[in-house]
């Protein structure tokens, strides 16, 4: 498999009244053609900002301070706005968390879906509409031609997310970034959306970056997983290695917080005490230490780098932790996940 997307040492921060918020702090990862990468972590850990940085869709207060985003070897951070627009939607499609507000309420579905096809593919309006009707069929919305004339408020949340998926895939991008696309949806519909993306991926060969704070989704869809905390990647591994042999206490905590298969929401992640830090200073300590049951003195003085783990079952398994958690017997009740 060849590397499609190679992100190197990405750093993004926000200018705020009293200095900076360090949202992304040296994130590096690779995405192979046709692969699916899951990005997990609690809310506020920098997942969205990382992805928005790739195509520079950041709010005005944000700036990318360092890094490279190589798509087939070409650095997206060096492109001018015109070139970047061709990448957005054309090479990298995105879908977002809230399908209820992701469609323009004033324009009918057909016109909205036709826009990128006209713009990126140079289709005529009627060609674009015909293609849009087809795309609706592909994402499981029958009767496409009639539905194209409807407005977003005539679609349910799940339907709107299907429309968003159809739009983001319409110009056959090489990468689809899905930023918590199911978080706002009912559980049964979540599963349908996951199935839909898998199905489209397998058919088109698009590489997928699937952002979620829900590890239970990851096992079914991802080849590899990145765990983010406080703007850092704290663990990265093939999906099996991550589930069988997690090495970062935060990952263990997330797993301890796996919701039951019945899908009770609201229970996830609540078993790690505390919450992610404000990112107002770059830490010279492990950002997880205030919540970490394994923490040692060194954790409070030095921030660990992301490095290959010892005795890895897979070469691509890396973690950022001073402690080999396999060697530590935690006292009863102190295990990560029940602090």
């Amino acid at each position: 498999m060849s590397v499609l997307l190679d992100v190197q040492d990405l750093q993004t921060r926000f200018q705020v009244r009293k200095g900076y918020v360090y949202a992304v702090n040296g994130v590096s990862f690779q995405l192979d053609q046709g692969d699916t990468l899951a990005v997990v972590g609690e809310s506020g850990c920098g997942k969205s900002v990382t992805m928005l940085s790739l195509v520079r869709l950041l709010p005005p207060a944000a700036s990318i301070e360092n890094g490279q985003v190589l798509l087939r070897g070409e650095d997206l951070l060096q492109l001018n706005l015109r070139q970047l627009r061709d990448v957005r939607g054309g090479e990298i499609g995105m879908i977002f968390q809230d399908p209820m507000t992701s469609l323009n309420p004033f324009i009918n579905i057909g016109t909205q879906m036709a826009e990128p096809l006209i713009y990126h593919r140079g289709m005529s309006k009627s060609e674009a509409l015909a293609r849009s009707a087809e795309l609706l069929g592909m994402v499981g919305i029958p009767d496409g031609e009639a539905r194209l004339r409807e407005y977003p408020h005539q679609f349910s949340g799940g339907m709107r997310q299907r429309v968003m998926i159809a739009m983001s895939m319409s110009c056959e991008p090489a990468v689809l970034i899905a930023d918590e696309p199911t978080t706002a949806l009912d559980v049964t519909i979540q599963a349908q959306i996951v199935e839909l993306v898998k199905e489209l991926r397998d058919r088109s060969g698009v590489a997928v970056i699937w952002i979620t704070h829900d590890l239970s989704v990851v096992a079914g869809i991802a080849d590899r997983v990145i765990v983010m905390y406080a703007g850092y990647i704290v663990e990265e591994a093939p999906v099996d290695a991550l589930f069988e042999d997690p090495r970062h206490p935060y990952t263990v905590g997330l797993m301890g917080a796996l919701p039951s298969l019945a899908g009770e929401t609201g229970t996830r992640l609540t078993t790690i005490g505390g919450s992610p830090p404000d990112l107002v200073d770059l830490p010279d300590f492990c950002p997880f230490h205030p919540r970490c049951p394994y923490a040692i003195d060194r954790c409070r003085k030095e921030n660990p780098m992301l490095e290959p783990v010892i005795d890895a079952s897979d070469g691509g398994h890396r973690a950022a932790c001073w402690v080999d958690i396999r060697e530590v017997e935690l006292e009863a009740g102190a295990a990560a996940g029940s602090v």
Binding site: L84, T101, N104, F106, E115, H120, E134, G140, Y151, M159
Partner: protein, 323 residues
């Protein structure tokens, strides 16, 4: 092509009953609003009179009948005649023309200026935004009538002199009609007074709309800025803008009357309600009908625009659009 296993089960039928256009929904809501509908009638009538008034008037607005000066209302002169024996009813009908022309033209100018300035400020942000905000604050801090007087005092004489020169140079009779100077000054003053309101409205709309998810989604699809503005931002700002324009039209007409009242409006011979009111005021105790006609018209139109504006506000409020 479509696979069976992903056939969705979630609600297809949502809002099935209302498969109509959003604008139609808004129109239905407007039609259900009694005050708005009552307000529309005089406004439609006003525009009708403005267009066809000259064909409806029993007398020419300039026709002076010295035998019937200051005549009381009668079957001949429905609303009486003024000091010069001109038919008041005819002049009111012509005054509608002035009111509508002033309202439309000054609103159009201030809207265009406001749209450009507001869009630049909202979309570019930074220094441009600060400059536009400062300009609008400056303009809005000056009293409207004072502004009109200052403009009139400083520009009227040079403009008239320029017109005279142009006439001498071209021998084109157009340049002898000094009423155009009046109109330009009135339009200019009204536009100057009104553009900041539109600019601030547009700026606010852009700031709020551009942070919405569908704009992010459109940008993520590579849509260029211009297209996002015309397809996403402007249509979404349309509701508040229509409301503001409705209020602005009424406001411009009232302001023009105030200008005329102060002697910096459209000068005779073009009839203007404001001018008629100020003339009528001098004799209101002896000849109240001179004041009553234009004043009542002005009041009806003002109230009508206010009601229509309220109705539009409710009908176009996007929060009710379920989107």
């Amino acid at each position: 092509m479509t696979t069976q296993e992903i056939t969705p089960t979630d609600d297809f039928g949502i809002a099935e009953a209302s498969r109509t256009n959003l604008w139609k929904d808004a129109f239905a809501r407007l039609a259900a609003n009694k005050l708005a509908v009552i307000g529309i009638i005089p406004i439609v009538l006003l525009f009708f009179i403005a267009i066809f008034g000259p064909y409806l008037t029993p007398y020419d607005f300039l026709a002076q009948d010295f035998t019937a000066r200051l005549a009381a209302p009668s079957s001949e002169h429905w609303l009486g005649t003024d000091e010069l024996g001109r038919d008041v009813f005819s002049r009111i009908l012509y005054g509608a023309r002035t009111a509508v022309a002033v309202g439309l033209v000054s609103t159009a100018i201030s809207l265009i200026v406001g749209l450009i300035m507001g869009s630049l400020a909202g979309y570019l942000g930074g220094r441009v935004d600060m400059l536009v905000v400062w300009l609008t604050d400056m303009t809005r801090s000056m009293p409207a009538l004072l502004l009109a007087i200052v403009i009139n005092l400083t520009l009227k004489v040079p403009l008239e002199a320029w017109m005279e020169q142009m006439y001498l140079a071209t021998k084109n009779g157009f340049f002898r009609q000094t009423m155009w100077v009046d109109l330009v000054l009135v339009f200019g003053a009204l536009a100057l007074i009104q553009w900041p309101g539109y600019a601030r409205l547009i700026r606010g709309q852009i700031l709020s709309i551009r942070s919405r998810n569908y704009v992010l989604a459109a940008r993520a699809l590579g849509m260029p800025t211009g297209r996002i503005l015309t397809r996403y931002v402007i249509p979404n700002a349309m509701g508040p803008l229509i409301v503001a324009v409705s209020a602005g039209l009424g406001g411009a007409m009232v302001l023009e009357s105030a200008f005329s009242f102060l002697g910096v409006g459209v000068q005779l011979p073009i009839p203007s309600w404001g001018k008629m009111i100020s003339d009528g005021l001098r004799m209101w105790q002896t000849h109240p009908y001179l004041l009553a006609g234009p004043a009542v018209m002005m009041a009806i139109i003002t109230v009508s625009f206010a009601w229509l504006g309220d109705g539009l506000n409710d009908a176009l409020n996007p929060r009710q659009w379920g989107g």
